[in-house]
Each structure stands twice: as C-alpha cells, then as structure tokens.
C-alpha cells in the first residue's frame, strides 16, 4: 500500500500566451508511516503538485492515487489533512469557531467534535487564545491553528505546504516538533520545503524537484553519504542535472 502514487502527472499553466510547465511527467511513490520531504527551490512546482493531489487544480495530463484511491474521488478527503502555503483563515472566526466549522464539514458528532477541539487547541498551545479572532493572530499562531485544523478529522495522511517558511526559530522548532508528533501518532506526513536544513532533521524520505521535474526520490539514509549534509548533496545534484541539460 502506498500513501501517494502519481503517474505521469503534469501541469501546464497558460497565461497570456505563455506556457509554464509547472510540473512535468511526475512519477512519485510515497510509502506510509513516514515523513516525506518534498524539496526544491522556489518555483520548482511543489505547491502545484500538492494542489493537484488535493483536487484544487486539475492535472493537464496524468493522474494520481492517494491512499489507493484515484484523485477526484471525494472519499479520499475524509482521510487527509491539508495546510496550504502561508495559510489564511476566516479572520473574524476564533480558533474554536474555525475548528468547529471544519469539524462540522467532516460531520463529526457534536460531543466528539468539542472534545477533539479541546485536544487540538491544547496540542498547539492555543487554549488560552481560543476566543480571539484570527485577524489578531501572529504568523506563528496562524500556522499553529492551521496545523490543528489539519488533524480535526483524524487523517491518515497530512499535507503541509511550506509549514516552516517565514517563522522565527522558536516557531520553526514548535512546528517541527509537532510534525514529528504527528508521525508518532501513526500518520503519514508529506511536506514541502525549500529550507533543506529543516528537512534533514525531520524526514525519513525526500524527493527533490527542480524546474518541474523530480530529480531524485528515496530514503534519506540511502541517498546521502554519511558525512554529507543535505545542502551539499542538493547543490551537487542540481548542478549536475542542470549541467546535463545544457
């Protein structure tokens, strides 16, 4: 069983007569119960891929399966969580109102929903600011309520798009700890990042994307030499790949 599998997935954006091949022929396999880091520089196509997997954007060609179900099947969405890149939530809602709203979307019965909301607020340390409208939240707090929101339905697979970008060191550490925690709960985590150092400490496996193409994918410990940092490996790889093309 694979958590994620894509087959010749591609997305071409056409804007004003210009074509952008955001993703080309992506064949990805992610096994469950691990943290998978989807890495690559800005504009590599990470967000585009995640959007296609979640049904926010239609693939130009190819298809994908999530938890063995083909994308487009709404059943999949019962079992996944998603935190968009630089997320933004209904600013007039409080944390409780937001989680309650999403809980109702999943049709979680009231009693269970309220219990879950308390658990999640406690987990991300927002219990004390539960009544404050989200417009007054800091970047880090938004990220935390965003993470809490991904877990409301007890998902098997959680997508985080750039969850650590734009946070201060404390915020980064908190988010990373939370992600590790989520994996310990037996869930699969798929997260994208252009910050390699964070990925290195977090991931079991990685895939590296450059200019819309997957250039490598596998277990971190198989890919790296013992003394090599991910950063060094990454730069070497990208240089090599770009060299090949020209």
């Amino acid at each position: 069983m694979l958590a994620i599998k894509t087959e010749h997935l591609a997305k071409i954006y056409k804007t004003g007569g210009k074509e952008t091949k955001a993703i080309q022929d992506l064949n990805l396999e992610v096994s469950p119960n691990q943290i998978y880091g989807f890495l690559g520089p800005n504009g590599a196509g990470k967000t585009t891929t995640i959007n296609m997997l979640l049904g926010l954007a239609a693939p130009t060609t190819g298809t994908a399966w999530i938890l063995e179900k083909q994308i487009g099947d709404i059943e999949i969405k019962q079992k996944i969580g998603f935190l968009p890149q630089s997320p933004y939530f209904y600013e007039s809602f409080s944390s409780v109102e937001l989680l309650n709203f999403y809980g109702k979307i999943f049709k979680i019965p009231r009693k269970e929903r309220y219990k879950k909301i308390e658990e999640l607020l406690d987990m991300v340390g927002l219990t004390d600011s539960r009544k404050i409208p989200l417009r007054k939240f800091s970047r880090g707090m938004l990220q935390r309520i965003g993470i809490a929101q991904t877990l409301i339905n007890d998902p098997d697979l959680v997508f985080f798009d750039e969850p650590i970008a734009g946070l201060d060191p404390v915020g980064r550490k908190e988010v990373m700890d939370t992600i590790l925690n989520i994996k310990r709960q037996g869930r699969t985590v798929f997260f994208s990042s252009h910050v390699l150092h964070d990925a290195e400490t977090l991931c079991d496996s990685i895939g590296i994307l450059d200019k819309g193409k997957l250039i490598v994918s596998g277990k971190l410990k198989d890919l790296l030499d013992p003394k090599e940092s991910l950063e060094e490996y990454f730069l070497k790889l990208i240089e090599k790949k770009r060299g090949e093309k020209t």
Binding site: T47, L56, K77, I80, Y88, E97, Y102, N153
Partner: protein, 255 residues
C-alpha cells in the same frame, strides 16, 4: 445536504460579524420612521404616502444588501484562499456554491424581515391599525432579493466582488426597465435590433413582476395567484443562475 447547510451557516456567522449590514438596516428604519412620522401631509393622503415610502425604502435597502452579500461571499473565499482549505475537505464544488448562496440569502432575508417588522410597527403607531396587507409586496421583495443574490453569485464566480456588484446593479436597473423592451422592439425596423432586444428581454430577470408596491400602497388587493406566479418565475430564474454558476465553477483551479 448538511455540508451545504454547514457552509451556509459559516457564511451567515461571518456576515453577522460585519457591521455594514446593521448600518444599512438601521439607516433604512430611521429613514422610514423619519419620513413617515414627521411628514406633513394632509390626512388621508398620509398613509398612502407612508406606505409608498416605506416599501420603496425597504426595496432599496434589500437590493443593496442582496448585492453586497451575494457578490462578496465567493470572492472573499477565493481572494483570501480560504477556499483551498475548504475544497481540500470533503466538499463538492456545487455544495460550495449552494452553501455560499444559501448563507447570503439567509442574511438578506433576515435583514428584510427586520425592516419589514419595523415598518409594520411604525405604520401601526401612526395609523393605529395593523397593516398586514403590506406583507404581500414584501414577500415579493424577498423573492426579488433571492434572484438578485443568485445573479450576484453567478457574476462572482468569474469576477471580483467589486465588478460583480456593479454588474448586479446594472442587471437590477435593466431588469426593472426590461418590461418596456417589447414595446420598443415593435417600433424598431432593424432585425438585429429586434433580435438583441428580445434576447435581452428573456435573459434579464423581469424585476417589474416583483414590483406590486404601488397598487399595494393604494390599497388595491393583489391576488395570491399573481404572487405565486411571480414566486415560481423567481424560483426558476434562481435555479438557472445557480446551475450556470456551478458549471462555471466546476473546471476552475484554486491554485
């Protein structure tokens, strides 16, 4: 169904936290109260004028509110990208549209209901009688509001909230004048003009159907048959607007 209602409830909750609605409702009530309680018109003429002013005031406020809530609901979700989090959950696109529509309609009707009750009370104070016949034209104001929300929602599936609301105002005005098109077309010699004229006549909502304010204010009885006919017309028009909205939305990316 319950997904649609959950989304509608969310729209309603958020709208109720914005002050602008209260401002419009309260302003409208004050305007009616002021113009009716202090109008120095000869007796007899008085109540007729009061009813005219009151109904017109509510109709205008209802139009403003309907267009405002209808044309902002979806663009707000798209521009703030809250739609991404929502669509990634088990929500179908048609459920998203219908939820936004119903939430906006609920708020529009609630505002009209508050203004209507206020109006009847003001009338009662002035005339020492309960003018429940006034509810008939108000029912049609409600249905006009529903159609107008649907029109605004349709525009907002492909335009910004600003552009949608301007277009909806244009449709509102044109929809109140369109009943004259057949008379104009008859006189037009050009075939193309005739064709365009008739096309517009059938595509635009015929809002004049919903306007029974003048006869009501003059105490003329409006038959229920007419009211139900107009309601049916409004329901069909609304359904078409929503079907087109869903069709437009179906193939949209939210990246």
């Amino acid at each position: 169904m319950s997904t649609i209602l959950t989304i509608a409830q969310g729209v309603y909750q958020r709208l109720m936290k914005s002050r602008i609605l209260y401002v419009i409702v309260v302003f409208c009530l004050f305007a009616i109260a002021y113009s009716t309680l202090y109008s120095a018109v000869t007796a007899g003429e008085e109540t007729k004028l009061m009813k005219d002013i009151g109904l017109a005031g509510i109709a205008v406020a209802a139009m403003l509110i309907s267009i405002m809530v209808g044309s902002t609901a979806i663009p707000k979700e798209i521009e703030s990208r809250t739609i991404q989090t929502l669509i990634a959950k088990p929500v179908r696109k048609y459920e998203f549209i219908l939820g936004q529509f119903l939430g906006a309609v609920y708020v529009a009707l609630l505002s009209i209901a508050i203004m209507a009750v206020g109006f009847i009370i003001i009338l009662a104070i002035k005339t020492h009688a309960l003018n429940l016949v006034m509810f008939k034209p108000l029912i049609l104001v409600c249905f006009e509001a529903i159609v107008l929300v649907a029109v605004s929602v349709l525009f907002s599936t492909f335009c910004s909230s600003m552009v949608s609301s301007i277009l909806a105002v244009v449709v509102y005005i044109a929809g109140h004048l369109s009943y004259q098109i057949p008379f104009l077309v008859e006189r037009a010699g050009n075939v193309v003009t005739k064709f365009v004229g008739l096309l517009l006549y059938y595509v635009l909502p015929n809002f004049q159907y919903f306007n029974v304010k003048a006869p009501a204010a003059h105490g003329i009885c409006i038959p229920w048959g007419l009211i139900f006919g107009v309601i049916l017309y409004g329901a069909i028009y609304t359904a078409i607007m929503l079907l087109v909205s869903v069709a437009i939305f179906k193939n949209k990316d939210f990246a």
